[in-house]
């Protein structure tokens, strides 16, 4: 139990690569919370993928004891939040659990699009914000320019920004001191009925579901009978702890404190982030506002490369889902790809992360189909259908109109690349909303269809700007547009995994590109293969793969039999990685490559 005035709860807002995790590591290390020998670079990013890619996916927390210059020891609770737009909902709820933020900006680069979105979330949550200029030791560091940039772009006073180098440790004591002196202490009433916010939850194979909470009012103790106000579920607290960052048992948590508990909860889905936790016997009068659950916005099919791995895929997906309530799945059958799952994700990075975890942690080879967004089909009978998979599209004669999700995209980019960015957005059916400058950096806002972004927008953006652009988006709503289903026919057979919804005006170009790509990707067969893109019965693009005419070994005698047979065995193995489509075999890699669109 800590006195409220000695608690500071904060998060760190930063762009990828601007040094958030390194700073977090430094703070933990300099207060001796973790012994030096246990220090693993980027301590809080515990998943392999998080550490490798330098991104944070799940919110993490650590409690630090800090003896301040005023002679008192403070408890600092750091919630490390994800930086990527896909996980914006994680950010928003984490922000609500703390009172202040450190805004970390790379002193050589300035504010990026994602930083901006997260800072606004922090401001929305009523945070006090301390700007920190990192990488001050680099020759390219230009603190004055970046301070001006922070003031221009965010409108935040950056005059007392703290210059640091998380890498060398320079300025770290000043940061710790600023947390104590410049961020507010939490408020709360120890004697009121228990009111705690469910900040996050995750599945631990040994402990079951671990729930992270922030206590607002009252006190929670081990053994307490609690109630989740939204779900109505009741549990007994088995274990109460704080994260230092390892789980350290604690007798009770009072107002302003952040900690975790376990309570024999079986899956993450049984907990709802933002829910209010109170005592069963003496509940609080009013629940906290709560959050909207995150909705999947991008869908794609995941199929095992080897059909025999379907059951393993099911197991793996179920295990992953235990820990990730934002990821949805249902079984899907594809004529081209066999049995698999249609999965919903928060965005493309989320998709990629889940896919990578399935492949890496469960040793599966997967085929991913074209990412698709959720379309609203307004039927002539007045009903509305959510379409997750273009292959499921009903007959067009029953459809009155189709709506697609739109986003507002914010892109920040050095001005020499601005022309390329505008062209890219224009090509993707974007509508420019705003264009402003801060120094030599431009900030542009576009209204874009999400389906134009889910393909490879981010890759294209990175390539046309050599990696200097940053991008962030949020969904703004649905709008009707002239959308059609484009089918791809290989040797006159439609390939369901390649069908997609496209804008009518873009259909020819995309169809042509698809046919050209497939022509390169599908090996020649013993017969000629037409490849067509069609809307309904109307062919809009066509390519032909010519027939192979000669594949015969000139010499094959007694001494060659073994070698040729082994070659045959190898070719048979190769055939297994092909998908039979009518008479045509399509390599699995073709599905993935064909769907990577450029231009």
């Amino acid at each position: 139990m800590t006195d409220l005035s000695l608690i500071r709860n904060f998060s760190i807002v930063a762009h990828i690569d601007h040094g958030k995790s390194t700073l977090a590591d430094r703070l933990i290390q300099s207060t001796g919370t973790v012994a030096d020998r246990d220090m693993k670079a980027q301590l809080l990013d515990s998943m392999d993928i998080e550490r490798e890619r330098g991104i944070t996916i799940k919110a993490n927390t650590v409690r630090i004891d800090y003896p301040a210059r005023d002679g008192k020891t403070y408890v600092l609770n750091l919630i490390d939040t994800p930086g990527h737009v896909d996980f914006a909902y994680e950010v928003s709820r984490s922000m609500r659990a703390v009172e202040g933020s450190l805004l970390v900006v790379d002193a050589s680069q300035g504010v990026e699009a994602q930083t901006l979105a997260n800072v606004y979330q922090a401001l929305d949550a009523g945070h006090e914000i301390v700007p920190v200029l990192n990488k001050i030791d680099l020759p390219a560091a230009d603190p004055d320019r970046v301070k001006a940039n922070i003031e221009d772009v965010i409108g935040l006073d950056a005059s007392d920004a703290i210059p640091i180098s998380a890498k060398t440790g320079l300025g770290i004591p000043d940061v710790l001191e600023a947390i104590v002196t410049r961020l507010p202490a939490p408020k709360g009433d120890r004697d009121a009925p228990l009111k705690a916010m469910l900040v996050d939850s995750w599945y631990d194979p040994y402990l079951g579901v671990v729930v992270m909470i922030r206590v607002m009012d009252g006190v929670i103790r081990k053994g307490d009978q609690i109630k989740m106000m939204q779900t109505g579920a009741r549990y007994g607290i088995d274990r109460l702890a704080v994260l230092t960052p390892k789980m350290t048992d604690i007798a009770e948590l009072g107002p302003g404190e952040i900690g975790v508990f376990t309570a024999s909860i079986k899956q993450v889905r049984d907990t709802r982030v933002g829910d209010t936790i109170t005592h069963e016997r003496k509940p609080c009068a009013e629940a906290l506002p709560g959050f909207k659950p995150a909705q999947p916005v991008v869908f794609c099919g995941l199929f095992p490369v080897d059909a025999a791995d379907f059951e393993s895929l099911r197991d793996a997906i179920e295990k992953l889902a235990l820990n990730d309530a934002s990821f949805s799945y249902e079984m899907e059958t594809s004529a081209a790809l066999g049995f698999g799952f249609r999965c919903g994700f928060l965005g493309l990075l989320h998709l990629e992360v889940v896919r990578e975890r399935l492949e890496r942690e469960f040793d599966l080879d997967l085929i991913t189909t074209a990412p698709s967004v959720v379309y609203h089909l307004h039927m002539k009978d007045g009903s509305v259908i959510d379409l997750h998979n273009p292959a499921d599209m009903p007959d067009v004669t029953y459809i009155d109109h189709i709506e697609e999700p739109r986003i507002k995209a914010t892109i920040m980019v050095p001005d020499e690349y601005l022309g390329d960015i505008l062209k890219l957005c224009q090509d993707r059916r974007g509508i420019q909303l705003n264009l402003t400058y801060a120094g030599n950096r431009a900030m542009v806002e576009y209204d874009l269809p999400l389906n134009e972004v889910v393909f490879d927008f981010y890759d294209r953006l990175k390539s046309v700007t050599k990696g200097y652009a940053s991008f962030d988006y949020h969904l703004t709503g649905y709008r009707e547009d002239n959308l059609v289903k484009m089918s791809i026919l290989v040797n006159a057979e439609p390939v369901d995994a390649l069908s997609m919804l496209v804008h009518r005006d873009r259909a020819e170009a995309r169809g042509r590109m698809m046919c050209e790509k497939l022509k390169e990707l599908i090996p020649r067969h013993m017969f000629q293969i037409p490849i067509q893109a069609a809307i309904g019965a109307k062919v809009i693009a066509r390519e032909t793969i010519s027939a192979m005419r000669k594949d015969v070994t000139a010499k094959c005698y007694g001494g060659d039999a073994t070698r040729k047979r082994k070659l045959l065995d190898k070719q048979k193995e190769g055939k297994k990685r092909m998908r039979q489509f009518g008479k045509v075999e399509i390599p699995q890699t073709a599905f993935i490559s064909a769907l990577k669109m450029d231009g």
């Binding site: 013993m526 000669k550 015969v552 070994t553 010499k555 001494g559 039999a561 073994t562």
Partner: protein
């Protein structure tokens, strides 16, 4: 009566490998080595020891063919060839019309030995002409001229009952007309057996390295290669030689009996460095092989009494694959019932139907044969049918 074993449908033959050449040709991926000094006596002892060992397993069988391959077997002393054939004749009974072939290069030095080989018992010479123009012979790394090639051919035909000649075509910068001229000038001499191979770029050869570096130019494209193959068949057919196998053309009755043992999947003993064999012993069919390096093989034979590397048991599926792969090369084709008996399952029905419909295969009762178009796609067909 005892059911005949599967290999008996193909017969029994013996292959002996001589691993040395005067020079390594840039297209050749056979097991051949260049050595300045070769002790023919050492090699004779080793070959004889290996023959004795092979006879212990297959002694009772009737031999259809012996083949001296290489390398360049026309670098063997005729006395060595004689000693080997003498030992073979003591171990196995010969079919009445046993075929005993030796591969020879048409240099004048080697042509001088033809009589000696004949006296030692060789009754068929396979002559590696490869080309009939001097520029191309040089590009192929050959040591002889076109004139020497034709002289050697004439001498061989007056020395041996049966002679075959090899040519390589679809060479760099070769035109259809140039190939036609070369082939016709060979056919004018009235051969009854030709092996006509399209140049194949193999890994591990000088040509392979050049091709990998993008420096091998002037090779025909697919359409030209197909046109050359089709023309070759027509011209040979016109001269009375039919394509009884993908690259082999013969007047009826002059087919290579030795090679037919391979293609009909008979049993064969492989003697010498890098030689492969197929032996059915008891109920098991083995693929045998030997050490490839000449000195390693020689030492193994001398020190351990065997030049063999560990045998591979050929499982039914592998036997069936080999049978299909080899037999479909022949104009007589594959017997569906034999394939089924070996593999325990049928050919891929969908692939068979598609190939029959597509005019790539023809079925005549139990026999499956490729059409001309199908023969050119044989590797692909075998893959489809056996997958």
């Amino acid at each position: 009566m005892k059911q005949p074993e599967d290999w008996q449908a193909g017969g029994f033959a013996l292959y002996l490998h001589w691993p040395f050449c005067k020079a390594k040709c840039p297209y050749c991926d056979f097991n051949s080595h260049v050595r300045t000094r070769i002790d023919q006596q050492d090699w004779q002892s080793a070959y004889l020891a290996e023959l004795d060992r092979a006879a212990a397993e297959t002694g009772g069988r009737i031999l259809r063919s012996v083949f001296f391959g290489g390398g360049t077997p026309s670098l063997m002393d005729p006395s060595l060839v004689g000693a080997v054939l003498d030992r073979i004749s003591r171990h196995w009974r010969f079919e009445n019309d046993i075929e005993i072939t030796l591969e020879a290069n048409p240099t004048s030095v080697e042509a001088d030995r033809f009589r000696g080989y004949r006296a030692a018992g060789v009754n068929r010479l396979s002559l590696g002409l490869q080309a009939l123009n001097d520029d191309d012979l040089r590009r192929l790394g050959r040591q002889h001229s076109a004139a020497e090639a034709l002289a050697a051919l004439d001498l061989a035909r007056s020395t041996f009952d049966r002679v075959s000649a090899d040519l390589i075509y679809a060479r760099q910068d070769q035109t259809l007309a140039a190939w036609e001229y070369e082939l016709c000038s060979l056919l004018d001499r009235g051969p009854d057996h030709l092996s006509l191979y399209q140049l194949t770029i193999e890994d591990g050869t000088a040509f392979g390295a050049l091709a990998r570096a993008g420096k091998l130019r002037g090779l025909p494209d697919e359409d030209l290669a197909v046109a050359m193959y089709e023309m070759t068949g027509e011209i040979c057919e016109g001269a009375g030689l039919s394509a009884y196998e993908v690259s082999n053309y013969a007047v009826e009755g002059s087919e290579s009996r030795h090679n037919l043992v391979y293609w009909r999947m008979g049993d064969y003993v492989g003697i010498g460095p890098g030689a492969h064999g197929r032996l059915t012993l008891g109920q098991t069919r083995y693929a045998t092989s030997t050490h490839r390096n000449p000195e390693v093989w020689l030492r193994a034979v001398r020190d351990t009494g065997s030049g063999e590397t560990p045998r591979e048991v050929l499982l039914p599926a592998a036997q069936a694959d080999e049978y299909l792969m080899m037999s479909l090369r022949l104009s007589e084709g594959t017997r569906i019932s034999r394939y089924r008996a070996l593999s325990g399952s049928d050919l891929n029905a969908g692939a068979l139907e598609a190939a029959l419909d597509g005019g790539l295969l023809q079925q005549d009762g139990d026999h499956l044969r490729t059409t001309e178009a199908g023969r050119l796609l044989l590797n692909r067909l075998v893959l489809e049918l056996s997958a």
